[in-house]
């Protein structure tokens, strides 16, 4: 019974409550508390006490300030606010530029921060994220790291768990290569659904997968989702896609056709649709023990096929370093005799997988993200510089006000406070505007990058901290200097009215130069990104992908031999169409993956070094369908009998293996193991994949049973031809969905992330430059005001308009020149860095720096011309009359 009301709130109450009321109200409050104590117990009673105290915090109860003090602070603040607002309204153009610049700057910054936050949030929803690592292997030869790979054999996971005490659980995953066709047979034909699911939609995983990663299980027993053979777990999205009419999918069966492990699977669970910010964006999960029963893995001792990705979760509190040490040498006991390198286990944290994974190809990296951060900082910096510029320029107009205030008795600190308060008002208005702008731009950005994240402040406290930090910093940064300048005016001078501003190279010029430097950087950057992308898109690929479509071959079939015959028949039928120029079957298509990578050496050379080459399976029509140029020998021709295993290679292969000229290479043989491959033809180098990558040695091997069919169409009636092709396909392979791509689009898809980068980059550069223009505009109008008399006198003395305009432009040209010279090395270094990621890149030429100068000059002329022109044509009598 010895509970007393919370001390803090009692003190708070005594602080704000009027003296004459304190005793009785507090008495009532305590009586209430006492009663609540009996009714609700101590914690609830304390809560209610706090609430009651807070409710007393109202004007009738709150202490009034002493009369004189109240007058000073309250009405002075009021007065400052009022003059501030009046001043904003009085100079509408200035205030508009000021606020708009700030608002756009802050909004851009917010948008970028939102995006950065999204990219950094990948897989952060797993509660054990900090304990989860992907198990990688580092391959060394002679203590030199050759490469790192994320592939591991299926015995590695269980072995790690057994041998390393610090590891709590492991989960293996294996992507179903090549995807599959999934069918749900509904009760009636109307309910049946069939779709082709691409690679990456289906994974074989351990049950422990659900222990490591937090997926919300909507239906089914989360403890034993993947225990039974042939069970399958689907996501909510797949439920909607395949069984929208079914209330509970658990127990229903899905038919997985084609692919490498066809069969019928029973749904054992549904998990919540995966969020956008996760690496594994699967739709189906199947038990890994099913996979391991297949022939390929039954024959394996568990250490040869390294096409699993293993994740390990370490015990909380155990040392990561120790786990690394204990796990490192495990692979040494299971090394393949034939390989000439040693492998060691290493780990990559789950937190690094999205942005900092050295193994991932393309996509967003930490570099890109920090690049956007830099742009964000640039933009906000430009916006603040603008504010400082415009406010100090405006300061002259307030000089008299300051003078009078000082005469009446205002202290310097009071004046500083006044102008800081004004800065706060402007910043607040800008901030509100920025919020509205940002909530409009974020959806646009999500459209560009194709990922949906929401403009959601309030969810993360860090956002709020950042946000208020930016607000306070912005107010101080942008307000302090103008406040200082303004409060320094000497009343005797300013009231006399002869205040003039020295035209030396002052801070304002420095600020404008800084803005121009950022602008030069951004324009040069935008231009370079654009040129590089254009270069990649227009580069001669060495093969012609226009008017070519590629059709995915059937994946669901009963009898392989029958399917092959049907494929041949299908190709024959297509060849007979008048609008089809050529037809080719192949296992790989440009812009996609290679079929095989393997090490080969030149046959007959002693101690020949093995080098990695890529292998593709194609038929005899592949060359003319894709318009490749043959520079020596001949292409595959099944009618010509010759040596076994003939291959056609590319120029890079000849060069890498030192086979001499193309003609000399014909007849030489490549070797892997005991098989030799005589070279019968050499193709001119072509780009099989994006120009980001070097061309690699490529070897084309003959097959007549390619899985994809490529058609070169004549330019007319493409839609109609496609319909005929689809009809033929459906007639021959009724169990398979018809799936095709235009090859030029398919190929260009590799540049998607670069295109997005260009788009975002251009937009934000444009915004930054626009804000800088606002600054120029403001500065121009300020200096012109200062020089009205000078111009008038010059005109009276006979200066022509052109020379006056030159006089005005000269200063700005100087600034642009200076900015360009100073920033050039930075631009060169940064762009070179960016371009070094591309195997085929443009060179940085002089025009990259010339362009920003030209663009800025034009923009500047446009911005200040109106005012300059007006000043130059003005009648000098008008300007000189005043005095």
């Amino acid at each position: 019974m010895n509970h007393s009301p919370p001390k803090f709130f009692v003190r708070f109450f005594l602080w704000f409550c009027r003296h004459d009321l304190q005793e009785t109200i507090l008495g009532d409050l305590e009586e209430q508390f006492d009663e609540d104590l009996r009714y609700y117990g101590p914690s609830k009673a304390k809560q209610r006490f706090a609430w009651n105290v807070l409710r007393f915090f109202r004007p009738e109860i709150i202490k009034k300030k002493e009369k004189t003090q109240r007058f000073n602070y309250y009405s002075m603040h009021n007065h400052y606010l009022k003059t501030g607002l009046r001043n904003i309204l009085k100079h509408k153009t200035f205030s508009f530029l000021n606020i708009l610049g700030l608002a756009v700057g802050i909004a851009s910054c917010l948008t970028i921060l939102q995006y950065v936050a999204f990219e950094s949030s990948y897989d952060q929803f797993h509660s054990r994220k900090d304990d989860i690592y992907r198990v990688d292997s580092d391959h060394f030869r002679d203590s030199v790291l050759l490469f790192r790979s994320d592939g591991s054999a299926f015995e590695l996971g269980p072995t790690l768990k057994r041998m390393v005490p610090g590891i709590e659980e492991v989960a293996r995953t294996h992507v179903l290569e090549g995807g599959a066709v999934i069918t749900f047979e509904g009760a009636s034909s109307g309910h049946s659904r069939q779709f082709l699911e691409e690679q990456g939609m289906m994974y074989f995983v351990d049950q422990a997968f659900f222990d490591l990663f937090d997926y919300k299980v909507l239906k089914g027993n989360s403890e034993r989702l993947l225990e039974a053979p042939n069970s399958i777990v689907i996501t909510e999205a797949m439920w909607q896609k395949y069984l929208p009419d079914v209330d509970d999918p658990v127990g229903k069966t899905l038919n997985v056709g084609g692919g490498r492990y066809p069969g019928t699977f029973q749904i054992t669970g549904v998990i919540e649709t995966l969020p956008e910010n996760t690496l594994y964006s699967f739709g189906f999960l199947m038990p890994i023990h099913d996979l391991l029963k297949s022939e390929q893995y039954v024959e394996d001792d568990g250490w040869s096929w390294t096409n699993f990705v293993t994740y390990a979760m370490i015990k909380p509190g155990s040392s990561f370093e120790q786990v690394c040490r204990q796990a490192r040498n495990i692979l040494l006991d299971h090394i393949d005799e034939e390989e000439d390198y040693e492998s060691y286990v290493s780990f990559t944290s789950l937190n690094d997988l999205h942005l900092r994974d050295e193994l991932s190809q393309g996509g967003i990296t930490a570099e890109t993200v920090s690049f956007f951060m830099i742009i964000a900082i640039f933009i906000i910096a430009i916006a603040w510089l603008n504010y400082i510029n415009l406010s100090t320029a405006q300061a002259i107009r307030r000089a008299k006000e300051v003078g009078i205030r000082k005469t009446v008795g205002a202290a310097k600190s009071q004046l500083i406070f006044q102008f800081l308060l004004e800065a706060m008002v402007v910043n607040t208005i800008a901030l509100l505007l920025a919020f509205m702008l940002a909530s409009g731009t974020v959806p646009l950005l999500t459209e560009v990058i194709g990922k949906s994240f929401h403009f959601g402040f309030g969810i993360h406290t860090t956002h709020w901290v950042l946000f208020f930090g930016a607000f306070v910093a912005g107010t101080l940064l942008s307000g302090f200097y103008p406040a200082l300048v303004l409060s320094r005016f000497k009343p005797a001078v300013v009231i006399g009215g002869s205040l003039s501003v020295k035209r030396k190279f002052g801070l304002r010029q420095v600020l404008v130069t800084a803005q121009l430097m950022i602008s030069v950087f951004l324009i040069a950057g935008t231009y370079t990104v654009h040129r590089q992308l254009q270069f990649m898109l227009n580069q001669d690929l060495g093969l012609n992908v226009d008017q070519v479509i590629s059709i995915t071959g059937p994946m669901v079939y009963e009898d392989e031999e029958l399917m092959r015959q049907k494929m041949k028949l299908f190709q024959e039928k297509l060849r007979a169409l008048p609008t089809v120029n050529s037809v080719s079957g192949s296992d790989a298509i440009p812009g996609g993956d290679y079929n095989w990578s393997t090490g080969m050496s030149v046959d007959g050379k002693e101690n020949a070094e093995r080098k990695s080459i890529r292998l593709m399976f194609v038929d005899d029509q592949f060359q003319n369908t894709y318009g490749m140029e043959l520079i020596a020998g001949r292409f595959h021709d099944p009618n010509l009998k010759g040596e076994k295993h003939p291959v056609v290679v590319n120029e890079t292969l000849i060069r890498k293996f030192d086979l001499g000229s193309a003609e000399e290479a014909i007849g030489k043989k490549m070797r892997t193991g005991s098989t030799t491959f005589p070279i019968i033809g050499v193709l001119k180098d072509y780009h099989w994949t994006s120009l980001k990558q070097e061309t690699t040695p490529i070897l084309l091997y003959y097959t007549e049973n390619g899985g994809s069919v490529s058609l070169r169409l004549s330019a007319t009636d493409i839609q109609e031809t496609l319909m005929i092709v689809e009809k033929e396909y459906k007639a021959l392979f009724p169990d398979n969905p018809f799936n095709y791509d235009f090859m030029d689009e398919y190929f260009a898809r590799q540049y998607q992330s670069d295109k997005q980068f260009r788009q975002i980059f251009s937009v934000f550069s444009f915004i930054a430059i626009m804000i800088a223009c606002l600054g120029l505009f403001g500065l121009a109008s300020f200096t012109l005001n200062q020089r009205v008399k000078e111009i008038g006198i010059r005109k009276v003395l006979g200066a022509r308009m052109s020379s006056i305009l030159m006089l005005l432009y000269k200063d700005y040209m100087l600034l642009i020149g200076l900015a360009t010279v100073v920033v050039s090395p930075v631009v060169y270094f940064a762009l070179n860095q960016w371009l070094s990621d591309f195997a085929y890149r443009i060179n940085i030429t002089f025009d990259l720096l010339l362009l920003p100068v030209v663009v800025l000059t034009v923009i500047m002329l446009l911005t200040i011309s109106y005012q300059s022109f007006r000043a130059a044509v003005a009648n000098p009598a008008a300007s000189l009359r005043k005095e």
Binding site: L21, T24, I25, D28, E30, E31, D34, N52, I61
Partner: protein, 110 residues
Amino acid sequence: MGRTTFLGEFEELILTMVLILDENSYGNTIVKAIKEHQKREVNLSSVHVTLYRLEKKGFVESFMGGATKVRGGRKKRYFKITNTGKVMLREMKDSRMNLWSLAPQLNYSS
């Protein structure tokens, strides 16, 4: 009538409570009484603020009363309705009855 001061609904309620509670009306008892008779939860602060307002208008007067241990030894501020307050309440009641008599007669027979 020419009345210059009016009472809001909440003010009337509080004033009535002060009348009912007679000798024992202060913040807590009023809150409790409203809860008991009207099944309505009101906050202590609203009651206090309203009491002060009524006092300003001259409908109640207050005096400090005895302290009890349960209140941490603090005094109570008791409120008592003034004659003006009583007249005011009566007037309000009468004028309401007048209005009711003008309404069409409701038939309550079942």
